[in-house]
């Protein structure tokens, strides 16, 4: 047929590896919705914990252990990494990351004096409200999941 050469939906490179927030089958949709509700509930509960408490440590340990177990025992379909990176393009990132570390290190070296606060000193007060901390924990878990898929 004349259309034999035309790539179909399933032929597109990388299509199988795309992450879908709303999977096709009903069973998968239900599973994704249940996992989503559990993760949001977990983030809400974890956001209510007191810093420097055992429960707050456990709340951070659990996602780490769960994602590590998934990565080792039930690895999801991974998004193929690039074969190589453009050196010039990557260099912009190296400069930005190095600048962030240098700025943070200089604050740390000065013992985070009020006139030179570290990033942690600036972020911690923002994480005070329960909803903000829970949202940050949810984002952290989602980033962890995205990393496991890489």
């Amino acid at each position: 047929m004349a259309t034999d050469d035309v790539p179909g939906e399933s032929d597109r490179a990388g299509r199988r590896s795309e992450f879908s927030l709303w999977p096709a089958s009903r069973k998968n949709r239900v599973r994704t919705a249940v996992i989503g509700i559990v993760v949001v509930g977990y983030a809400w509960a974890a956001g209510a914990t007191e810093p420097f408490s055992t429960i707050s440590l456990v709340c951070v340990l659990i996602p780490g252990v769960v994602l590590a177990a998934i990565a080792v025992a039930w690895p999801p379909e991974r998004i193929p990494p690039p074969e190589k990176l453009d050196i010039t393009g990557m260099f912009y990132w190296v400069i930005a990351v190095a600048a962030l570390f240098e700025w943070e290190a200089s604050a740390w070296k000065d013992d985070s004096l009020p006139w030179h606060p570290s990033l942690t000193d600036l972020i911690n007060p923002l994480l005070g409200p329960h909803i903000v901390k829970s949202a940050a924990i949810l984002l952290w878990i989602l980033v962890g999941w995205a990393l496991v898929r890489r």
Binding site: S56, V60, D86, G89, Y92, W93, A96, W103
Partner: protein
């Protein structure tokens, strides 16, 4: 107006983080030579040790900001 040292420090963080968002935006443009965060992290995570270190870094961030 002279900025206080604290304001300069905060401005430095804002500038660097804004630059990272700009880089990500530029990386997502068609034909860009700049890799996205996902691409370069994926590249770093190709060897097992890179994968372990990146995931440990992710966990450390959670511990640092949410458990301390």
């Amino acid at each position: 107006m002279i900025m206080s040292t604290r304001a300069v420090t905060i401005a430095g963080f804002v500038l660097v983080i804004a630059a990272m968002f700009l880089l990500e935006f530029l990386a997502r443009r068609p034909g860009s030579r700049i890799p996205t965060v996902g691409q370069w992290l994926g590249y770093l995570m190709r060897p097992r040790i890179g994968r372990v270190l990146v995931l440990l870094g992710w966990w450390w961030l959670g511990w640092h900001y949410f458990a301390r």
